[in-house]
Every structure is written in structure tokens, then in C-alpha cells.
């Protein structure tokens, strides 16, 4: 039988055994997210659609699934959703600018052989696709930070109802800092693992440092890692301030009402 079928089955069984109902939901959301990604790629093949706009829509749907399906609709997930969307817009603008300036669009030197049999004039905007790739690879981590901070800040307010807005914000940021370390770590190693063959290729060809740094593949990888880190750092203050604002506003309202 196929390797992927086996691995999927093992993952599914493990998730059920260890995670119970929540495990089933997590697995389903992986499946749905994969579906969304897939449909997005299909829509991107039409040159009339802007890849960046499609990416934004895909991110919205993915966040919707991860926040409102795995965790239920509540003020927690709502604030997490809003902060994720804001971060994605900011990050997307930044990334489009960077990919355009540094000319890291399209395919790198390593795939010359593979793409040589294809027609490359396919009318799709590869600058924007480059940006989509970067944002899509970070969305998982951004969502993780958003929901963790929102949950903990709600918890803090619950235990300490009189906390000031500023204190609430600082405690949100300090929770974020802990996640920052582990999440950037997750991404770094995932990228390292994915790029291992490329790194070996560079070493084999004994490229000079200057050649490696300026090559398209390497520049793309590095910029991807950096943008992912920037994204994770960016969402921490954004989601902390939105939660602090929302939670204190809500408190004022209930105080006025009573």
C-alpha cells in the first residue's frame, strides 16, 4: 500500500487515541485546510485572478476553520480572528514589497532541469505567487500565537477582573514572548528539514559564500525564514492590544449596565 495512506492512517489513529474528540477535529481541520490550499492553487492557475488576493481569501477561510471549527465561536476566537487578519494584511504588503525588490520570484537554479520540459510563459504572476508561498507557510504559526494569547488574556481577566488595560496588554505580550521562542524554533527546523537537500547541493558544488548568498534559491529560503519570524513577532503586540482593548471595553460596558 501507499506510504502516504499508511502515514495518514497512523496519524489519524494516534490523534483519536490520544486526542479523543479533539483529535478527530484536529485531523478534520488538517484535511479541510489542505482542501482550501488546493482550491486556492487551482484558482491561481487562472491568470485573471490575483494570487495575492486569493491568498488573502484563503487565509481568511483557513483562520475561520481553525478558529471557529476547532475552537467554538466566542469572543476569544473572534479577537484572535481579527488580529490574525490585521497581521496578514500588514505582512502581505511587506512580503510583496520584499519579493519584488529582491527579485526572488519564480524557480531557482536547482530546478532548471525539471522545468526545462515545460512551457514557462504561462501568464501567471510569479512575483505574487512568491509572496503567497511565504505567507501561506507562516499562517499556521500566526494562528497558533493569536489563539494562545487570546485564550490566556481572557483567563487573566477572569482571575483578575480589575486589571488595567496597560497591565493586560503587558501580560499578553509576555505570554507571546514564550510562544515566540518555541514557534520560531518549529519553523526554523521545518525549513531546515525541507531545505536539507538544497543545502547539500550547495555544498557539493562548492559554491563560494558570495555566490550562495546572492543565488535565488538561497535568498528565497532565507527571506522566507526571516519573514516567518517577523510575522510571529508582529502578531504578538497586535493581538495583545486588540484583546486588551476589547476586554476592557467589554468590562466598562457591563459596569455601566449594572
Amino acid at each position: 500500500m501507499n506510504v502516504l495512506v499508511w502515514l495518514t492512517a497512523i496519524l489519524f489513529i494516534l490523534m483519536i487515541v490520544i486526542g479523543g474528540k479533539k483529535g478527530v477535529r484536529s485531523f478534520l481541520s488538517l484535511f479541510l485546510n489542505f482542501g482550501v490550499l488546493f482550491i486556492t492553487i487551482f484558482l491561481m492557475t487562472n491568470p485573471k485572478n490575483s494570487p495575492v488576493l486569493l491568498t488573502f481569501i484563503a487565509c481568511t477561510v483557513i483562520s475561520w476553520i481553525s478558529l471557529f471549527f476547532i475552537n467554538e465561536m466566542s469572543s476569544k476566537t473572534m479577537t484572535a480572528f481579527i488580529s490574525t487578519m490585521i497581521t496578514i494584511v500588514v505582512l502581505l504588503l511587506f512580503i510583496v514589497f520584499v519579493t519584488d525588490k529582491s527579485m526572488i520570484r519564480g524557480f531557482g537554479e536547482e530546478s532548471v532541469e525539471e522545468i526545462s520540459i515545460f512551457s514557462l510563459n504561462i501568464g501567471v504572476n510569479f512575483v505574487q505567487i512568491g509572496a503567497s508561498v511565504i505567507i501561506m507557510s507562516t499562517i499556521g504559526a500566526i494562528l497558533d500565537v493569536a489563539i494562545s494569547i487570546a485564550t490566556s488574556m481572557h483567563e487573566i481577566l477572569h482571575h483578575n477582573p480589575l486589571i488595567s488595560r496597560k497591565k493586560l496588554f503587558t501580560s499578553g505580550v509576555s505570554i507571546g514572548k514564550d510562544i515566540l521562542g518555541t514557534d520560531t524554533n518549529t519553523l526554523f527546523f521545518a525549513f531546515f528539514g525541507g531545505y536539507l537537500s538544497l543545502l547539500i547541493w550547495f555544498k557539493d558544488l562548492s559554491y563560494s559564500i558570495g555566490e550562495i548568498i546572492n543565488s535565488k534559491v538561497f535568498a528565497t529560503e532565507i527571506i522566507m525564514i526571516f519573514c516567518a519570524g517577523i510575522g510571529i513577532a508582529l502578531i504578538i503586540p497586535i493581538t495583545s492590544s486588540i484583546n486588551a482593548y476589547y476586554l476592557t471595553k467589554k468590562r466598562e460596558k457591563t459596569e455601566n449596565a449594572s
Binding site: 506510504v3 502515514l7 497512523i10 504572476n125 537537500s197 535565488k216 526571516f226
Partner: protein, 374 residues
């Protein structure tokens, strides 16, 4: 007390001034470092479009082709200051070509013959990208430092140290005959110890995290290797790695190993931290209570961490998938050629993440009980 505070803010000021100086100096350097490159570099000073034609390829994809005349001035080498001319063909989509603009710096090769004006001609080899890389790197560093302060600094250090370890290990692999799986095993050990100590400091939490990470990673690797062996690698397509002149399988396994590591560390340190926090709040907490709360935390992080892995791996193949689909490649083949390795990596990582939940639950309880006994 006030003195300490003053000293602290003074140190901070020194640190930030130092960073700012580094930033300015390095940016200045990278914009004027042509002399340090052996390859000739030219800066574009004039571009002119000579021709533009709409094209339709055999799959009815429409695109626009342009031919661009470029005049540039050489920035280094013996011929520094001389003018050089290129012609550049590019398309609107820019899958493997690109338009150049005034101000772009390019690596070029110079042809021996000169034209009638005494100007040089040549071909464009690559773009000089180091300045953008540096600026993005600084934005990354500042973002992490401003938001994360100490933790941010430690993540940056961890990234640098880990990449050095990896680079050194790969040098070792390329230049000797040591088995890659063995090398990456040693790397995994080093990565885990370095990263977790930097994230969390030297304490029982970290030990519990390290033990759980190592066990979890090795078991998940074992499972993946077993599956690959039982199925005879049916369904795994190594075409993507065809640029390598080395055995694909080992390199793929090593990548699998390292790629899952970060996620597994994430789970084990999150679990260990929260379980130790529970213990510190209430020293008399029973093993059973610890187990239930630990399991709840594990269930919470399971979904998000696996999806981080999925997105990282699958997003990378978007450009290739689009190219295949636009070339009317059959869908099934497109997917299996471009996604099989990524999906295998993501699934193996997911298995590692889920398995690590009970493993780190028990290692944390073990370390908590050891602390309790003291």
C-alpha cells in the same frame, strides 16, 4: 534599587546604540561591497524595450514576451567604470526570467569583443541580492528584539548557532564518508540541547523537555522508516530531488528527522512548562491530576502544531504545482510528483507531535516526582 534600574536602562541604551551602529555600518558596507566580489558586477543605468510580442503556448496560455536593451556601468574589477550592454528577454509572468530596472545591480560575464563605441557587451548571470537579504535580516532582528526582548535575542542566537552546527555537519558529510543518518542523529541531539536551553534555561523543565523530544523524534523516525520499508516506498517520488548527485533516500530521511524536530520540541517544552507550573502552584498535586491536566494541554496544542508543519511544507510546492497544471499535466501525476515528499514529511512530523504528548507527559511526571522526593 534605583541605581540598579539606572544601570539596567543604561546597559539597554548601550545595547541599542550598538545595534544601531551595526545596522548602519552593515547596510553601508553591503551597498558598497562590489570590490569584495570576484565576479564582475554592473549597475543598470538605462533600459529600453526593443520588442514586445504577445505569445500563446501550446496549452493556450497567454503571456507577453519583451526584449530589453540594458546599459550598465561596471562597478568592480579592472574594467571598473566602463559601460556594458546586454539584451534581456523576459515575460510578464517571470517564472524564470525577469525585467531589470535602473539601479539594479547584476552579476555579469564580460565578452572579450567590444562594440564600435568601445563599450563592452556581456551576459547577465544573476542579481545581487545581498543588500535585500541584509535589510530583511535586520528587520527580523529588530522585530524579535523589540517584541521578544530576552526571548527574542535567544531565538536569534539559537537560529545562528543551529545553522552553524548544521553547516558544519553538512561539510562533514560532503567531505567524508560518514553516514548521514548518524550525522543527523548527532545534530538532533545538539539542536535539542542548544534550543531548549536557550528557550528555557537550565532546569528540570528543560531536562524533561530534552528527554521527551529525543524519545519522540526517534520513535517517529522509526515509524516512518518502518512504513517506508514495509511499503517499499510505494508512492514516494524523488523526482524533486533529481538535482542531487547523491542517494536521495538517506537525505530525505535526514530531512524528515530534522524537520519534525522543532515541532516535537515545541510540544514537549509546552507540556513540561505547564505541568511544572501546575506543580509549583500546588506541591501536593496528585499524579492523576497532573496527568489529566497535562493531557488536556497536549490535546490543545496537537492540532495547531501539526497544522504549522503542514502549511510550511505544502506551501513550498505551490509554484511547481501551478507550472505543472498550466502545462496540462495530469492532476494525479502532478500531485504525486510534487507533493509526495512534502506530505510524507508533514505526516511524519504530525505523528511525532502526537506521540510526544504522552511521552512528555510521563517524562514530566517522572522529573516532577524526582523533584518532589528531594
Amino acid at each position: 534599587m534605583q541605581n540598579i534600574l539606572k544601570k539596567k536602562s543604561f546597559n539597554k541604551a548601550i545595547f541599542y546604540t550598538f545595534m544601531a551602529i551595526c545596522f548602519i555600518a552593515s547596510v553601508f558596507f553591503v551597498y558598497h561591497n562590489e570590490a569584495f566580489y570576484d565576479r564582475p558586477i554592473a549597475e543598470v543605468i538605462k533600459t529600453e524595450i526593443k520588442e514586445s510580442n504577445p505569445v500563446t503556448d501550446m496549452y493556450e496560455n497567454e503571456d507577453h514576451l519583451y526584449t530589453q536593451l540594458i546599459t550598465a556601468v561596471l562597478k568592480n574589477g579592472e574594467k571598473k567604470g566602463k559601460l556594458i550592454h546586454f539584451t534581456n528577454d523576459y515575460s510578464t509572468s517571470g517564472a524564470f526570467d525577469q525585467e531589470y530596472h535602473v539601479g539594479n545591480k547584476l552579476f555579469v560575464s564580460i565578452k572579450a569583443n567590444t562594440d564600435k563605441n568601445g563599450d563592452l557587451t556581456g551576459t547577465i548571470l544573476d542579481v545581487k541580492r545581498d543588500q535585500f537579504l541584509l535589510i530583511v535580516a535586520w528587520i527580523f532582528i529588530f522585530a524579535l528584539l523589540i517584541v521578544g526582548k530576552r526571548q527574542g535575542l535567544f531565538s536569534i542566537i539559537s537560529l545562528i548557532v543551529n545553522s552553524l552546527v548544521l553547516s558544519f555537519a553538512l561539510d562533514l558529510y560532503v567531505n567524508s564518508n560518514i553516514n548521514l543518518i548518524f550525522i543527523s542523529g548527532v545534530c538532533v541531539l545538539l539542536f535539542t540541547v542548544i534550543s531548549l536551553m536557550l528557550i528555557n534555561g537550565l532546569n528540570e523543565k528543560t531536562y524533561a523537555g530534552i528527554v521527551a523530544t529525543l524519545i519522540g523524534t526517534f520513535i517517529s523516525l522509526l515509524i516512518s522508516a518502518l512504513v517506508l520499508w514495509i511499503t517499499n516506498e510505494n508512492g514516494i517520488r524523488y523526482e524533486e530531488m533529481q538535482f542531487l548527485t547523491r542517494p536521495y533516500r538517506v537525505i530525505f530521511m535526514a530531512g524528515l528527522f530534522i524537520g519534525a524536530l522543532g515541532a516535537v520540541m515545541d510540544v514537549s517544552i509546552t507540556m513540561a512548562s505547564s505541568m511544572f507550573a501546575l506543580f509549583e502552584q500546588n506541591q501536593n498535586i496528585s499524579d492523576k491530576a497532573l496527568r489529566t491536566s497535562g493531557m488536556d494541554i497536549g490535546k490543545d496544542v496537537m492540532g495547531t502544531i501539526t497544522s504549522i508543519l503542514f502549511f510550511v511544507y505544502i506551501s513550498g510546492s505551490i509554484p511547481m504545482l501551478i507550472l505543472y497544471l498550466k502545462n496540462s499535466y495530469p492532476l494525479g501525476q502532478t500531485l504525486s510528483m510534487n507533493l509526495s515528499l512534502e506530505l510524507a514529511r508533514a505526516l511524519a512530523g504530525g505523528i511525532g507531535v502526537v506521540l510526544t504528548i504522552p511521552i512528555s507527559l510521563y517524562t514530566s511526571i517522572f522529573f516532577i516526582n524526582r523533584k518532589r522526593a528531594k
